[in-house]
């Protein structure tokens, strides 16, 4: 297994792994004619503090894998441990911040109220909520938009608010399912830089599902390439691009890594 950049000085294997998946399978419509083996025999360990992307063609189970990590669906077989606990326990402990392709902002709440929602559910008092929301607005660079309603914001701004809301209660994991999939290319690149910036500032473990090879390579320190029917891990590629700058996207190494990911996807396509 590659990509274990950080050491395990913090303790044993279980302590340094944010996510520990073993022999994980997911079958939809089990035993029926339309049975689908979404995932089969997945084993994966995600280091605390790393940025891991899941990439692959439609139907490879990358979103299902993310949903299993986030306890939004239950495995058919195998285990998912998050911070050493079951995924559902991690959910109850509010270890997850989530962001999806659509922002999922509540139209009847202002930006600030949206960011405060998880805090409100966790019983934070008004002042603490207000302070944290203000911090989050700084982090997502929308300090002057707190009193706006979501429909008054652009798509990229809405996604930033969704990320701010996901991080407001300082969950240890950030799970993102194609959060920039609906954005135009320029906004998308800008958001990628923003997300890396947020990741550096907060040190969260990020699991990021995407269709875009350049996006996966630019953001991650590890790219998991998946193949479909049944969904399995085709390759686990360490990304050694160092600190990302504007020039990273034009660097030789960036293109080499993109090619490497693409070759896996192509080989996988040819072999079927």
């Amino acid at each position: 297994m590659t990509g274990h950049i950080q050491g395990s000085a913090a303790g044993g294997v279980a302590a340094s792994a944010a996510v520990e998946i073993s022999d994980l399978s997911k079958v939809f419509n089990h035993g029926k004619p339309n049975e689908v083996h979404a995932l089969d025999g997945i084993g994966l360990s995600i280091e605390t503090g790393s940025f891991v992307s899941l990439i692959g063609p439609s139907g490879c189970g990358k979103s299902t894998l993310l949903r299993l990590i986030g306890a939004l669906t239950a495995p058919t077989d195998g285990t998912v441990l998050v911070n050493g606990k079951s995924a559902d326990q991690a959910r109850l402990d509010r270890d997850y911040g989530m962001a999806f392709q659509t922002s999922g902002l509540f139209g009847w709440r202002t930006v600030t109220q949206n960011i405060e929602l998880p805090l409100q559910l966790m019983g934070w008092n008004k002042l603490d909520r207000k302070n944290r929301a203000a911090e989050m607005l700084e982090l997502i660079k929308l300090p002057e938009f707190g009193d706006h309603y979501p429909h008054e914001l652009s798509g990229g701004m809405q996604q930033r608010v969704a990320i701010g809301r996901a991080l407001s209660f300082q969950p240890s994991l950030l799970l993102m399912d194609e959060p920039f999939g609906a954005l135009d290319e320029m906004t998308r690149e800008h958001m990628q830089t923003e997300v890396l910036d947020i990741w550096k500032k907060t040190g969260k473990t990020v699991v990021f599902v995407t269709h875009s090879i350049p996006e996966a390579v630019f953001l991650s320190n590890r790219v998991i390439v998946m193949s479909p029917r049944p969904g399995r891990i085709a390759a686990d590629i360490e990304i050694d691009l160092g600190a990302r700058t504007f020039d990273t996207r034009e660097s030789q190494r960036f293109f080499e890594l993109i090619t490497q990911v693409r070759e896996v996807l192509r080989f996988d396509e040819d072999s079927r």
């Binding site: 306890a71 939004l72 109850l92």
Partner: protein, 258 residues
């Protein structure tokens, strides 16, 4: 803001005034005795002449309308909340609501009169409650249940309880549809109250005023009461719109009529 409201109301006011003038002029030519259809000025004259009596009747009917509305809204909202919270409630109560609505409710008025007494307002209130309940129930339950999968998954990831999801997501989501149903219900309540009054209830009501005057061929007086009833319906409609604006501040751009 008031100037803006006046300007946006101007086309409707012009149309209404034009229609009334046309009505007046045509009847002056074709039907000067005003027996079948009185002229607007005659109706206005009768309204002024019988003002005290019509106002008292409107008070009686208004009480039926308001209490029936409140009862019907409460029943519809509670029913919708139960149906959205519990599968068993959905399976039992939704068909029951549909069945209740399939009854021609106005046809129950004489039966209710037999139950509650011919002169009791309770039977009229019961008619209004039944009429109001269904649109409120249908729209509110639609609003409570039409929440996106992503919104629900987010709440799940925050480990929110069922009631917290209802309070913070389902109820606000249902607000616009609830207020739409309120506008429908307020007109229905006036219609229901007056028709129910044709069959019984207190004798100093708008419904009885219309029935008794029409029976003695005093059509102008009957029309004056119809105007009073319409005014009540319009007032209730705008009051509903006002509540909507206060309760859904995120939709400030929504027109009252919308």
């Amino acid at each position: 803001m008031i100037a803006k409201a006046l300007r946006s109301a101007a086309p409707a006011v012009l149309l209404g005034a034009g229609g009334l003038v046309l009505w007046e002029l045509i009847l002056l030519v074709v039907n000067p005795d005003g027996f079948v259809l009185p002229r607007p000025t005659e109706i206005l004259g009768s309204l002024i002449e019988n003002f005290t009596e019509i106002l008292a009747a409107a008070g009686t009917t208004g009480f039926i309308v308001i209490t029936g509305l409140v009862g019907g809204i409460a029943l519809g909202v509670v029913w919708a909340l139960l149906v959205s919270q519990f599968r068993i409630a959905d399976e039992m109560l939704t068909p029951l609501a549909v069945a209740l609505n399939a009854i021609p409710i106005i046809a129950l008025a004489p039966i209710f009169n037999a139950w509650y007494g011919l002169l009791s307002p309770t039977s009229n209130q019961a008619i209004v409650v039944l009429l109001v309940f269904f649109p409120v129930f249908v729209n509110t339950s639609k609003g409570l249940t039409s929440v996106g999968a992503i919104e629900l998954e987010l709440m799940h990831s925050y480990a929110a309880s069922k009631w917290e999801i209802t309070k913070t997501v389902r109820i606000p989501n249902a607000m616009p549809l609830f207020f739409t149903s309120l506008k429908i219900a307020s007109s229905l309540a006036v219609i229901g109250a007056i028709v129910a009054e044709y069959f019984g209830g207190r004798q100093d009501s708008l419904g009885q005023f219309i029935v008794q005057n029409a029976a003695s061929s005093r059509y102008t007086e009957a029309w004056a009461a119809v105007v009073a009833a319409s005014t009540m319906g319009i007032l209730l409609y705008f009051v509903s719109g006002g509540f909507e604006r206060v309760a859904t501040p995120w939709r400030r751009d929504v027109d009252v009529v919308g």
